[in-house]
């Protein structure tokens, strides 16, 4: 029976800085900085351990404008490890590491096969005498909106056909619609496996044949939660087997806790600590966004200290921890919400205030003083609409607090 096995990874984003972190202690910051490298090391280690026939990297190896020499150097080091074991690597470049970038290029070892900007076929004969056709292309520029899938044409003469495509499934609207395709289109190509990239969330779009987004190998911000890794795929003429292997050294998590049962600071603290300990993973760091909901403390001073000190206390314990759970974001919402309708009745002014907020759409104007600041303009990006809305809500809350509450 003819059989091949390979590693399918995508969206390495090597050395891309994590977003949404502040005031990290040095050891954790180092871990964070190294996390993408740790992940790629795990990828190569897995390839060597499982003695795979080859490795597929389906785009976005580097992170566009932030592509560092270190990233390339480390990547090359890892590729050399594979070269030593004679494991070929098939690489396409995606929108983030497209071919037209002005960054410095390091030469890669000969086992790294990079696809050109037009869809092409690479032929591989494994040591077991199995022949494979790999199809793919690299992004010539950042924006590729063409339906490149049309150019993928099966060429006879191989035991297995594997498509490598960095692009967006057309129905998904959350991401840039690069090189769009539909699952049906891929299925029609009658390949044995589709190694996709671009979407950072793991997804198996189809079982026959497997059409797979492995997700990125390391979460990079609080939206990219959960286990991250690669697929170790084994294909035979009859069936296939896919093992998910974790590669992330640091995992982003988001946990919502109902704090309504807690009556005092200690209880809140204990609740949080329990939550944190439950979230802890052995030998893996966790960056946690913690939501405390329905916090209902009578004592306003306790409430203030929860807001002010809780986070500090929680973080204090994690500073020296290898398997740390670092709360990056603590959001507390109170149980008692002010009834806007009642407020409106209370005073006409509130009605006007809410009216104003409902129709408030001139955020940029309000923020112009910051945005017009020579440095502010340079370093502070304009907020997306959702975030603007969120901030307006926060402003509303603030105003109510200030105006209404004693």
């Amino acid at each position: 029976m003819k059989k091949i096995s390979f590693i399918h990874a995508a969206d390495l984003h090597l050395d891309s800085p994590m977003v949404g972190l502040k005031h990290l202690p040095q050891n954790i910051f180092s871990r964070v900085k190294e996390s993408t490298f740790t992940a790629i090391k795990k990828v190569t280690a897995a390839a060597i351990q499982h003695q795979v026939d080859f490795v597929i990297l389906a785009g976005d190896l580097f992170d566009g404008e932030d592509r560092s020499l270190r990233a390339q150097s480390r990547f090359r080091t890892e590729m050399l490890k594979l070269a030593e074991k004679e494991i070929p690597v098939y690489v396409v470049h995606g929108n983030h590491d497209h071919l037209n970038g002005s960054w410095v290029h390091l030469d890669m070892p000969s086992n790294v096969h990079v696809f050109t900007s037009e869809v092409e076929t690479k032929v591989l004969h494994t040591q077991n005498g199995v022949s494979i056709h790999l199809y793919g292309f690299s992004y010539p520029t950042q924006h590729v909106y063409d339906r490149k899938i049309v150019d993928y044409q099966k060429k006879d003469g191989a035991d297995f056909h594997i498509g490598i495509l960095h692009g967006n499934e057309s129905t998904g609207v959350e991401h840039d619609n690069y090189a769009p395709f539909s699952v049906n289109e891929l299925q029609k190509k009658e390949f044995d496996y589709w190694a996709l990239g671009h979407i950072h969330k793991r997804a198996v779009l189809s079982e026959t044949p497997p059409i797979v987004y492995p997700g990125n190998i390391q979460g990079r911000h609080k939206k990219e939660t959960g286990r991250k890794g690669i697929y170790h795929v084994t294909l035979t003429e009859l069936d296939y087997k896919m093992d998910f292997l974790e590669t992330a050294d640091i995992i982003w998590e988001e946990i919502v806790v109902d704090a309504s049962s807690a009556n005092n600071f200690l209880e809140v603290l204990q609740l949080c600590q329990t939550t944190i300990n439950n979230a802890r993973r052995e030998q893996t760091g966790t960056l946690l966004s913690l939501f405390l909901k329905n916090l209902d403390l009578e004592d306003a001073r306790v409430q203030r200290s929860v807001k002010g000190e809780l986070l500090e206390i929680l973080l204090e314990d994690e500073k020296g921890e290898d398997s740390f759970v670092w709360v990056v974001d603590l959001t507390i919402t109170e149980g008692q919400q002010i009834d806007k309708e009642i407020l409106k009745k209370d005073a006409n002014f509130y009605a006007e205030l809410f009216e104003t907020i409902d129709h408030y759409d001139d955020v940029d104007h309000a923020l112009s003083s910051l945005y017009n600041h020579p440095l502010g303009r340079k370093y502070i990006e304009h907020l997306p609409i959702e975030e603007q809305k969120e901030l307006v809500m926060k402003a509303e809350k603030l105003l109510i607090e200030l105006l209404y509450q004693s």
């Binding site: 005031h23 209370d346 205030l353 910051l370 440095l375």
Partner: protein, 1001 residues
């Protein structure tokens, strides 16, 4: 909402007091400490809750001496009707119970419904004002008065302005467009610094390519220098080597030159030695050869003396044979005589036979006649045949005669039979007659058949005629009727002058006529009649034929014919016999003819044989055999004769030979001539003996001589061998003389010596690192020492340079490594991103404050534009009323909050610029305007706590007049000034006695 009754269980100093029947404009009068403030606090406390312990700003009025705390108020609500609110001591704000007149009961929730969610502060800020409120204005900073007024006027609290202040403060601590200290400014600055670093690092990243290039260049340069160092080192090594081998090389060169001068020397190996050896061998040989030659000459001389007659001795065998034949000579003589006699006898026999045959041929011809066995056989066969033929002939002649007789007899018989036969004509007529007799019967049969047929046709004819007649009649009747109708039509037509009808009728008549005539013809009957006629004619013809035949006697005729037939048969058998006999006769004749042929052939043969045997024909024909035998006989006699002749001849020849041989020998070797045969033989024999002895001596000498000669030959051969070797040696050295040879030998020895030396030199040079070409090159170089020094210096120089390059290379390599691995850029980038996030977070916080501020100001702006104008116009109205039109207009500050007041002379004042009383008037006017405009839906009682102490009488009157106009709200007026009481109706005033509340009606 109106307060109808108060029942104080215990509140401050007041205990168990009931106040009932409160008016719409109720004045509470009492001296200080009479409990006015306590009652006000009670009202607030019952409706909005007791002040909690934390609210330190307000008194809780808990009774010092009583356990009862709280009380109840009876109210009438314009929407909900009457209700009692009871609040007693309980949790923080007290336990409240509400009993509605409609039976509904409830707690805090129900109360909130009744109070429309107003809280105490809001209530106080709009519906309740005291002296402090007014006095606070005095204490406020001038600019804030307006703000306070605005905030009080909008929210009823100072919150708005406070909020604005807080927001502004927060914003200021976070960010100032041109500041340095605020948080965001600091962070921005810090980020900017990091970004600069990042840019530098990035630039270094860009340097990376340059560095890599530089590194490659350096490596290349280093390689080149390494190469040249290597080359120079090699050169130095070569020079050192040269120093070592220079003398050897030179010697080698010298030797080589010498060798070259000696040139090619071709000299045999060990030539001298060899030639000396040869010479030693050659000399003894020479001597021996000489002595041998002398001895041979001696012997030759001796041998010449006793030379035997060689030729005689050579003929010895012939001579001996001759001598032996001498006795034979006589014998031959006798034989000769015998033969001659025999020959004569044979001659006789031959002539006899000849005569017998009468042959006219000579002897030679007889031998040519063929008498071999075949001929003999043929002769016998021919004569036998001849005999046989003669016998056959006789028999055949006899047969012939016999056959001939039989044939003639038969012919006679036939002629007789022919005469008895009928002639042909007679026979034909007979036959005809018989034939006719047979025809008659067949004709009769035919006639009968014809008659039957005729009868049949006649019957048929009659039947047809009958039916035809019947049909004809019927048709005629039909046609007549039709004709009559047509005639009638014609007549009718002509009568009515209808010509067409008439014409039609006529045409019809004509057609009917035609049909009638045609229909009567009968064709069938005619056809049958014709057939009958034909048959009758035929019958007649046959009858005639029958009658014409003559009736003859057929039987006799038939008999004649029969006998004739018999005769004819006989005749035929005779003919057959004749034919048979004829064939017999023919056979005999044929045999005769054959015999004649054979006889002729035989004769011909006979003739040919006889001719061959040369016999006359007549003898041959009858005595061939005998003749042949005679012939044979004569032939054998002749042969014998011939033999005898030849024998005779032979004998004569032999005799001749013997005589002749002896004669020749004696003639050659005998001195005596003319001797007879026998003497000659004797003498010859003696001579033979003599010569033999001579020969033996000579042979001895000869053998000795040959021995010597052989010896000489051998010696000479060896000598020649040596001589040739010697010559070869000399010639191989390509010289002519031995002297030259020796000279050349010396030269060769010298060369060998040189070559040996050369070899030793070369062996020394063989392992030198310098090639021959290099050596030659170095030979031309003279200052090798200087060159060596120079090279060493050059190497030092290059090594120094290389070291520099290596250092440079190492540093660049390090730099590259730092860039690749050290990740300064990456570190800064990560740091930058983190800081950026921090900045963004801070910016967001700032944004929240900024947005709150913006939203607030926007709301205020909007509020100003919509609600305030109404309120302000009301306030203006009140102010104008209170100030007797002195101040008529109130303006909003264009920015921020606060009011501007316009006097009737159009002078504009800020709030703090007004007099105390006017400010208070403004305050009252605004408060009231609020209550009736912005909060017009809420009809709470307006509680006034001695607020008008600063007013003069006129102003007091004015304000009270104004208050009385507020008919939508209950007014609770607390005062301690007696003079004011004159402004009110008496029943509206409630007197509070000091120490105990007393209602004075």
């Amino acid at each position: 909402m109106k307060i109808l009754e108060l029942h104080i269980y215990g509140y401050g100093q007041l205990e168990n007091i009931e106040i009932t029947n409160l008016h719409d404009f109720q004045v509470f009068y009492g001296e200080n400490e009479a409990g006015k403030s306590t009652i006000m606090a009670f009202i607030h406390g019952i409706i909005f809750g007791f002040p909690t312990k934390q609210q330190t700003a307000e008194l809780r009025y808990e009774p010092k001496h009583s356990t009862k705390y709280g009380g109840k108020i009876k109210i009438f609500h314009e929407n909900y009707g009457g209700a009692v609110i009871e609040r007693v001591k309980g949790k923080a704000a007290g336990d409240v119970k509400v009993f509605m007149d409609n039976g509904k009961m409830g707690g805090e929730e129900l109360l909130k419904e009744l109070t429309a969610n107003f809280d105490k502060s809001l209530f106080q800020s709009i519906f309740s004002f005291n002296l402090q409120g007014l006095q606070n204005i005095h204490q406020m900073k001038s600019e804030e008065i307006g703000k306070f007024l605005f905030s009080a006027g909008t929210l009823g609290t100072e919150r708005l302005s406070q909020t604005e202040a807080i927001l502004q403060k927060e914003l200021d601590t976070r960010f100032k467009p041109s500041g340095k200290k605020p948080l965001l400014n600091e962070k921005l600055q810090a980020l900017h610094e990091i970004n600069k670093d990042l840019k530098i690092a990035e630039a270094k990243n860009r340097d990376y390519t340059i560095l890599v290039e530089k590194k490659e260049n350096l490596e290349q340069e280093m390689n080149e220098i390494n190469g040249s160092i290597q080359a120079i080192r090699k050169k130095i090594e070569n020079l050192n080597e040269w120093k070592r081998i220079e003398s050897i090389v030179k010697e080698e060169k010298w030797t080589k030159k010498e060798l070259r001068e000696l040139g090619e020397v071709e000299f045999p190996v060990r030539g001298i030695e060899r030639i000396e050896n040869l010479n030693q061998l050659i000399h003894p040989f020479n001597a021996e050869i000489h002595s041998l030659a002398e001895r041979i000459d001696q012997l030759k001389e001796e041998a010449a003396g006793i030379q035997p007659d060689e030729t005689f001795l050579k003929n010895e065998p012939a001579l001996l044979a001759l001598l032996e034949q001498v006795p034979l000579y006589d014998q031959l003589m006798q034989e000769k005589l015998q033969c001659e006699t025999k020959l004569l006898a044979l001659e006789e026999d031959l002539s006899i036979t000849r005569e017998k045959l009468h042959l006219n041929v000579d002897e030679e011809e007889i031998f040519s006649i063929n008498t071999n066995i075949y001929m003999k056989n043929q002769v016998e066969a021919v004569s036998r045949k001849n005999q046989k033929l003669k016998e056959v002939k006789e028999e055949l002649d006899h047969q012939y005669q016999e056959e001939k007789c039989i044939l003639e007899e038969l012919e006679k018989e036939v002629q007789l039979a022919v005469k008895q036969l009928l002639t042909k004509e007679e026979r034909l007529s007979l036959e005809e007659k018989v034939k006719i007799g047979n025809d008659k019967q067949s004709i009769e049969v035919e006639i009968r058949n014809l008659r039957d047929k005729i009868e049949f046709y006649q019957q048929v004819n009659e039947r047809d005629k009958e039916t035809a007649d019947r049909q004809g009649k019927q048709r005629k009747i039909q046609f007549l009727l039709f004709g009559m109708v047509l005639v009638a039509v014609t007549l009718f037509g002509s009568f009515l002058q209808q010509w067409f009808l008439a014409a039609l009728g006529i045409l019809g008549c004509v057609l009917v006529g035609i049909f009638m005539t045609r229909g009567t013809k009968v064709q069938k009957g005619i056809e049958v009649d014709q057939t009958i006629n034909r048959l009758r004619e035929k019958e007649e013809r046959l009858n005639q034929k029958l009658q014409s035949t003559k009736y003859m006697e057929i039987s006799t005729l038939e008999e004649q014919l029969l006998s004739d037939n018999q005769r004819r048969e006989e005749h035929r058998s005779l003919n057959l016999k004749i034919k048979h006999q004829q064939s017999h006769f023919d056979k005999v004749i044929a045999k005769l003819e054959q015999w004649e042929l054979e006889a002729a052939q035989n004769k011909e043969k006979l003739t040919s044989i006889s001719r061959e045997l040369k016999l006359p024909d007549y003898i041959a024909e009858s005595y061939l055999l005998e003749a042949f035998k005679l012939m044979e006989q004569s032939k054998s006699i002749s042969r014998e004769k011939k033999q005898l002749h030849s024998k005779l001849q032979h004998i004569v020849q032999q005799q001749e030979k013997i005589v002749q041989g002896l004669k020749s020998f004696s003639h050659l070797y005998l001195n005596e001539k003319g001797l007879d045969l026998y003497n000659e033989a004797y003498l010859l024999r003696n001579k033979l003996k003599e010569e033999h002895s001579k020969q033996i001596v000579s042979q001895e000498r000869q053998s000795k001589l040959s021995d010597l000669e052989a010896d000489l030959r051998q010696k000479t051969q060896a000598f020649k061998q040596l001589q040739s070797e010697y010559d070869k040696l000399i010639s191989s050295a390509k010289v002519l003389t031995e002297q030259q040879f020796y000279e050349l030998g010396a030269k060769a020895a010298r060369k060998e010596q040189l070559i040996e030396k050369m070899e030793s030199l070369q062996s020394q040079l063989q392992y030198s690192i310098l090639s021959e070409g290099e050596r030659d090159h170095f030979l031309e170089v003279h200052q090798s020492e200087e060159l060596l020094v120079e090279c060493n210096q050059h190497v030092l120089l290059l090594e120094g340079k290389l070291k520099n390059l290596q250092e440079n290379h190492a540093s660049i390599k390090y730099e590259i490594q730092v860039l690749e691995e050290g990740g300064v850029y990456s570190d800064i980038l990560h740091h930058y991103k983190q800081k950026k996030f921090e900045l963004e977070e801070a910016a967001k916080e700032w944004t929240v404050y900024r947005l709150a501020q913006d939203i607030l100001s926007a709301t205020i702006e909007k509020y100003k534009n919509i609600h305030l104008p109404r309120m302000i116009s009301k306030a203006e109205e009140y102010l104008s009323f209170l100030t007797d039109g002195n101040y008529q207009r109130i303006h909003l500050q264009t920015s921020g909050s606060g009011f501007l007041i316009e006097r009737n002379d159009y002078t504009i004042f800020e709030a703090n610029e007004l007099s105390q009383a006017t400010t208070e008037q403004l305050y009252v006017a605004i408060r009231l305007a609020f209550a009736v405009t912005v909060y017009e839906n809420y009809q709470f009682p307006i509680i006034i706590d001695d607020s008008f102490v600063n007013f003069d009488a006129k102003r007091t009157e004015k304000v009270l007049k104004l208050l009385k106009r507020m008919d939508r709200n209950q007014l609770l007026f607390f005062t301690c000034h007696k003079h004011l009481l004159s402004f009110f109706e008496r029943e509206n005033v409630l007197y509070l006695a000091k120490g105990a509340v007393q209602i004075i009606s």
